[in-house]
């Protein structure tokens, strides 16, 4: 019997409840191949986030970005804005799980007096890069020697295959059905249909279409898998005290969590095969925020595949392990009538594959009351980040 303790752990984080808030958000267009570079996309997102906060570029004295992609760092910031001031920075921000923990880094820098206004930015241009056969989620993995020798040669590659294998095991262990995975895809598509920025804003999806779609890696079909996109977003974090002086309704950071799988990014070897490290990340974040699952008005989770949505909904405690299929099929994830309005912008599956940064933006929009598929009186919005070996949880509240 696998116990929680033997397959992962939570990071110990300082209590930052109420110290900082997100006060500015900026997004580029989300598109298929745009012909733009990630640095250009990042600059545009940064510009819009700073303007939304009512700040000038020189006010931004902190920057968090993705060290793994490093498309928009301090040098690119200064080059774009024509500035040269000192900036605190960290490469442990950006998207994916780190889109949820960047505000924690900002809180630390602000508390130490190293920065006042911290920008987190994440751009991606994989749709453009794919046409030249570079970049993309698979290439990062194929370079790891254990995967290159023990997985890729055996056809266990890339991500659609990993997650199809998890999806199959979830079906075998818990009786989850294709119709239930389809309910996730369809609900998210309906949310995207109400979200002006979504790549799939104008394309509807029915259960009949879902069930008739081509299999990529049976049991995973086309609609279980997210597209590749170009796009980016950014947000500005500052102290709650400073936030009160700015124009926007602050999205207050109430809780942050971070959990790790002991098997790293080797899904094939993870002891709790149908789980994510949200098991470790969520409890600390909810305890820091002083909330329970029932308090959550909107949940957004990193959802490259339908199965990743279902696993995180379970692992974050919104339903019992194995029960997420019936939960989704009951309509629980719908923005207008569900118990747990989920990925109300459409998620990676139907909004855009910009690796989670747009999920945090959606949380802020819901709290401001300006989302496309708006949940009435949204007070608590939670982002569940996921990067295979790591999960993060970010609890935001309105004021």
């Amino acid at each position: 019997m696998t116990t929680a303790a033997d397959w992962g752990h939570a990071a110990e984080l300082d209590d930052v409840n109420g110290e900082v808030a997100i006060v500015g958000i900026g997004e580029t267009d989300y598109t298929k191949a745009s012909g733009r570079t990630a640095a250009q996309i990042g600059a545009e997102a940064a510009e819009r986030a700073i303007a939304d906060a009512g700040l000038e570029p020189r006010d931004v004295d902190g920057l968090t970005f993705s060290g793994a992609f490093a498309d928009f760092g301090v040098a690119e910031f200064h080059a774009h804005f024509g500035t040269d001031h000192d900036m605190w920075s960290s490469p442990w921000g950006g998207g994916m799980a780190w889109a949820g923990t960047a505000p924690y880094l900002a809180a630390g820098a602000i508390a130490r007096g190293e920065a006042r206004h911290v920008l987190n930015v994440f751009p991606v241009a994989w749709a453009t890069q794919r046409s030249s056969m570079t970049g993309g989620p698979g290439e990062v993995h194929a370079q790891q020697s254990l995967k290159q020798n023990l997985e890729v040669p055996f056809g266990f590659f890339p991500q659609p295959v990993y997650f199809a294998s998890i999806m199959r095991r979830h079906m075998l262990e818990f009786g989850t059905t294709r119709e239930q995975f389809g309910a996730v895809a369809i609900t998210l598509r309906e949310h995207a249909n109400r979200t002006p920025s979504a790549v799939f804003r104008d394309k509807t999806l029915s259960l009949e279409q879902y069930l008739g779609a081509p299999m990529l890696a049976d049991p995973l079909c086309l609609y279980d898998s997210c597209p590749i996109s170009d796009g980016g977003a950014a947000y500005v974090t500052t102290s709650l005290e400073r936030a009160r002086d700015l124009a926007r309704v602050p999205a207050v950071v109430r809780g942050v969590g971070e959990g790790y799988s002991g098997s790293g990014g080797h899904w094939a070897q993870q002891r709790a095969f149908t789980s994510t490290p949200q098991v470790f990340s969520t409890p600390g974040a909810f305890a820091m925020a002083g909330i329970t699952n029932d308090d959550v008005d909107v949940l957004t989770c990193y959802d490259p595949f339908t199965i990743v949505s279902l696993m995180q909904v379970e692992d974050m405690g919104f339903c019992a392990k194995g029960e997420s299929g019936p939960f989704a099929e009951s309509g629980a994830l719908r923005f207008d009538s569900g118990r747990l309005p989920y990925n109300t912008h459409g998620g990676l599956l139907s909004h855009a594959y910009v690796l989670g940064i747009a999920h945090v933006i959606e949380c802020v929009k819901q709290l401001r009351g300006v989302a496309g598929a708006q949940v009435p009186e949204c007070e608590v919005a939670v982002y569940g980040g996921y990067t295979g070996h790591m999960a993060s949880t970010l609890v935001l509240t309105r004021s």
Partner: protein, 150 residues
């Protein structure tokens, strides 16, 4: 940085961490690294035992009997090398000696994937792995077939 090894996606049989796995397969043997100090199978291979920290690890023969943990019928060719192979069945099999050890493998001789069942007994079958994109090269590897024994 793209992968430049010209025999990709064949395994790199010279990679020190996994070379013994392929050396054993070349003799039609299935060997897995095990910690001599505490007896834990160290899978994936690692320089030190994740349980006890010992660096004394030896490759030991296992029976080749396993159970079918999960499988995927790959229909989209995600690499050019897979284009002439799809559809194929890739699987994770859990070794009888320690089900926590899961091998990524091909499930071979599957007449109808619809009849595959969870935790079905499977056994090792050594085959030469070739890809149309890597002409003239092959690596002997463990694949698995449904059934208790060969």
């Amino acid at each position: 940085m793209a992968i430049t090894r010209d025999d990709f996606p064949l395994p790199d049989v010279h990679d020190p961490l996994t070379a013994p796995f392929f050396a054993a397969a070349a003799r039609d043997a299935l060997e897995i690294p095990r910690c001599t100090a505490c007896g834990t199978y160290v899978w994936y291979p690692a320089p030190t035992c994740p349980e006890c920290g010992s660096g004394e690890i030896e490759w030991v023969a296992v029976s080749g009997r396993a159970t079918l943990f999960t499988w995927v019928i790959v229909q989209r060719a995600f690499l050019p090398a897979f284009e002439s192979m799809v559809p194929f069945v890739t699987a994770l099999v859990a070794l009888d000696e320690d089900p926590a050890v899961r091998l990524c493998t091909y499930l071979v001789d599957v007449a109808d994937p619809a009849v595959l069942t969870a935790n079905a007994p499977v056994h090792v079958e050594f085959r030469d792995l070739t890809f149309a994109t890597v002409p003239g090269r092959s690596v002997r590897v463990p694949m698995f077939a449904v059934g208790a024994a060969s």
